[in-house]
Symmetry: C2
Subunit: 488 residues, 2 copies
């Protein structure tokens, strides 16, 4: 099994995620976040929001149901489409681009005619039945929603348009000042022709988007620090490795704000526990840029042997706000003396993919063969597990009592008294719980417990219970510092 | 203006919420959470989730797009419908039940025929053009979603079905044990005939649902404490006032688990700052129970002179799981020796309505006429504002410096240097910020500041900056205790 497959197996078995509606045979491209994944996802969103609020971002939340004029202006009605190829023998449908890529042809056909020519020329066959494929047609990727009136409604393919249509109200909220950073978490929808790879390519997915509105006449003053080094792959295929300040200074990244938000993105990915050795930034080729984008750098993650996009940091220029101004007839200019449309830089995060990157980054096997998810404590679903050494002699009851008290202080606390203590440690390791507290016979007589840390498997004995039952966050308890200094 | 209207005015002006897509004329029943409301909403969800995790709930997150068989089993395809009346003169459509209620007729007609009879008998007229109304037809409230295949898809009207369809997988996660408390936050959708009252009745709304799975053969052991007293209005119109333990003991509330989750709900509402004097529990009349419910208590809130539902705590019995078992043909039983279907108690929270209740509960006017939202600090969008006494003499720069340092510790921190200091205090009061730190000339010379508390308007001078710039949560800073003890 590949690393990816092993992690997906843990995720389904232990309850991070699984396919939705399985009792009815499932529904392609729809996944549930199970109990562990639901908390993990909240943790990822919380950290993302916190990092953006620290740099002055303001939050926003618009509906997923969106009326048609919004997507006329944004170009999604006309251009948010894939070419689809249907096998005329077995009726399977495919994204034409993927069929070509699987055949080693890395061309994105511009239209139906070109697509058919390339399919025929390369003798592309149906992966299911082997039939030769010879057709392609445009397929809009937005889901349409029924309404009772004349209004046409869609499910949004990105959260961005809810922000763009509110530019003027948000500017007023921000006291008329630019730059302005607006963040939005929420669902996005794509009627994928061929959903696949578990939560990597879904029809309904979790996004976190950032729209940075910038005055085109002024330098917004965003400048990266000389932070972590990271490989950058340019659209001329040149490779560069360095920090983002130098990437900007040497002209690899075109603007300081682009480099700044790439650095923020890298910082968030590292805080989430994503392996730096498996990340790179890659600049889009001209022929793969979205219709609204003039330049785009993706933060990519190496999943087994494939680089997948986690975050796209795109220069949308004045495209969206300008089109909304034209179609709505409303004044969406910035500035009174010299009215102008703001330009926009957009870091757009695929939360599901980041979660997959966290899980595969932190997955490891001990020499014993036991599996561990060594996620950062602030990311892992549960921080703490309370375990009795044995079930008998009142140890289970004592542990349950401590559990009830600890959970009132730290809700991300579990209890486990089934199987042997070794089994229980490895169960907690496998779901990423960083700390276990063991209740043993000394607990009964002396009110002391043992704490064990997940990655090092270090244990500290003789911790008084009263030093745990203190208000404030468990993660800030000084006891935890001992785990880095001592072992037993 | 009513209290509600005044609060809605603040919310639109200051940025809690506003109608969506206004540049295109808006779309009925769709609202944005603006920057302040977005953070407020996250705070409400966080507190709700924390309270449920403290009692051992497990989290879940299923898609909003849901295939048809799910809603066939749940009865929503057949029965989740309102009667609608269309004016044959001006073509306006109305929910028949609301037309009757506005006329003082509190009957929910069971079918089209009965509805038409009541409309005609009471000479109900179109509220817009005055035409006599004489028709009614069933109207399913689910939004349908287009798909490319034969699969029929809907937007979920409740998050509950995503949990019910996963009962067996969740039970395995929970090691086969009942009771099991499953929570889910997320969007719900209703194709409302007449959306109204700002965020109170929307077509897309924020829910937080809890499904408590209980073994029908065992007492699940949920028992309320003798907590806060609250009025209870029974479906026989008798009024009772007392705590929920007594309400159970005297038979006002039928089961101890129903009373227990009513108590949890009341506790959450109080922690959120909702006024106890404006709340009551009301039991559904038999004719208003949803098709899946055998008993339901709503936690209601008094909005001006109307009682509105915030939370419905419904006994769904074995309805849902049983129907899913029948339609899917899968075994959804609990227990091996004596297989049985679990029964379910469901506390379902309308997050938008709770937000409206928080805002109207905490809204007050000072004698000066200035408006205040006295929300609990953990609920209010921002905890802290840093204000220079004046803009000049380097005070603004010094305040900006402190702001940057504080925001790195507490992301919910604002900066404001426009207008007079009095104006700035009242601006913060109006958006509910509990603490303001003022930077004055003493700050320049002695690195000390003044802290002001919102509700009491108390100020404490001479606070050393270094006592603020400490790690850990600002809300736990001992300095804040002084505000309750001293004033200046």
């Amino acid at each position: 099994m590949s690393n990816f497959d092993e992690v997906v197996e843990i995720c389904k078995r232990r309850g991070f995620f699984w396919p939705s509606f399985q009792i009815y045979g499932g529904s392609a491209g729809l996944y549930d976040y199970a109990p562990l994944g639901s908390i993990l996802k909240e943790n990822v969103y919380r950290i993302w929001m916190e990092e953006y609020m620290k740099i002055g971002a303001i939050a926003f939340d618009s509906p997923v149901i969106t009326p048609e004029p919004v997507f006329k202006a944004s170009g999604h009605i006309q251009r948010f489409a894939d070419l689809a190829t249907v096998c005329d023998q077995c009726k399977s449908s495919y994204k034409t681009e993927s069929l070509l890529a699987d055949k080693g042809v890395n061309i994105v056909p511009e239209n139906e005619k070109e697509a058919v020519e390339i399919l025929v020329k390369n003798k592309v066959r149906c992966p299911k039945c082997g039939n030769l494929l010879n057709n392609a047609s445009k397929f809009n990727l937005m889901f349409q929603v029924s309404s009772n009136g004349i209004e046409k409604l869609y499910l949004r393919p990105e959260t961005a348009q809810g922000i763009f249509t509110n530019f003027k109200l948000l500017l007023t909220y921000n006291r008329g000042k630019l730059p302005m950073i607006v963040i939005q978490r929420g669902k996005g929808f794509r009627n994928e022709i061929s959903p696949r790879q578990a939560i990597i390519r879904q029809r309904e997915f979790n996004m976190a988007e950032v729209e940075v509105f910038i005055d085109p006449l002024e330098n917004p003053g965003f400048m990266p620090d000389a932070g972590e080094e990271i490989p950058l792959l340019r659209n001329n295929q040149e490779e560069y490795s360095g920090n983002l300040l130098n990437a900007y200074k040497t002209g690899v990244v075109g603007t300081s704000e682009h480099a700044y938000f790439m650095e923020i993105t890298l910082k968030i990915a590292l805080r989430l526990g994503i392996d730096k050795k498996k990340m790179r930034f890659r600049q889009h080729r001209k022929d793969e840029l979205a219709h609204y984008s003039s330049d785009c750098w993706d933060l990519e993650f190496l999943l087994d042997s494939d680089w997948i996009e986690m975050v796209g940091i795109s220069d949308r220029g004045q495209f969206d706000v300008k089109n909304h101004q034209e179609l709505s007839g409303q004044n969406l200019n910035y500035g009174e003396n010299e009215p102008r449309i703001p330009r926009v830089l957009e870091p757009a995060y695929g939360i599901d993919r980041m979660i997959m990157a966290i899980l595969t980054s932190t997955y490891m096997k001990r020499e014993s063969g036991y599996k561990v998810l060594s996620m950062p404590p602030e990311v892992s679903p549960y921080i703490l597990a309370i375990l009795p050494l044995q079930k008998k002699d009142g140890l289970s009851e004592k542990a349950q009592e401590l559990f009830t008290a600890m959970r009132a202080l730290e809700p991300r606390t579990l209890f486990d008294d089934s199987g042997s203590i070794g089994r229980r440690y490895s169960r907690q390791d496998e779901i990423g719980t960083p700390y276990c507290i063991t209740v043993d016979y000394d607990t009964l007589s002396k009110d002391i417990v043992t704490i064990r840390e997940r990655d090092s498997q270090k244990q500290i004995k003789d911790i008084p219970i009263k030093s745990l039952l203190v208000s404030g966050h468990f993660m800030e308890n000084p006891i935890l510092k001992l785990l880095n200094a001592n072992s037993s």
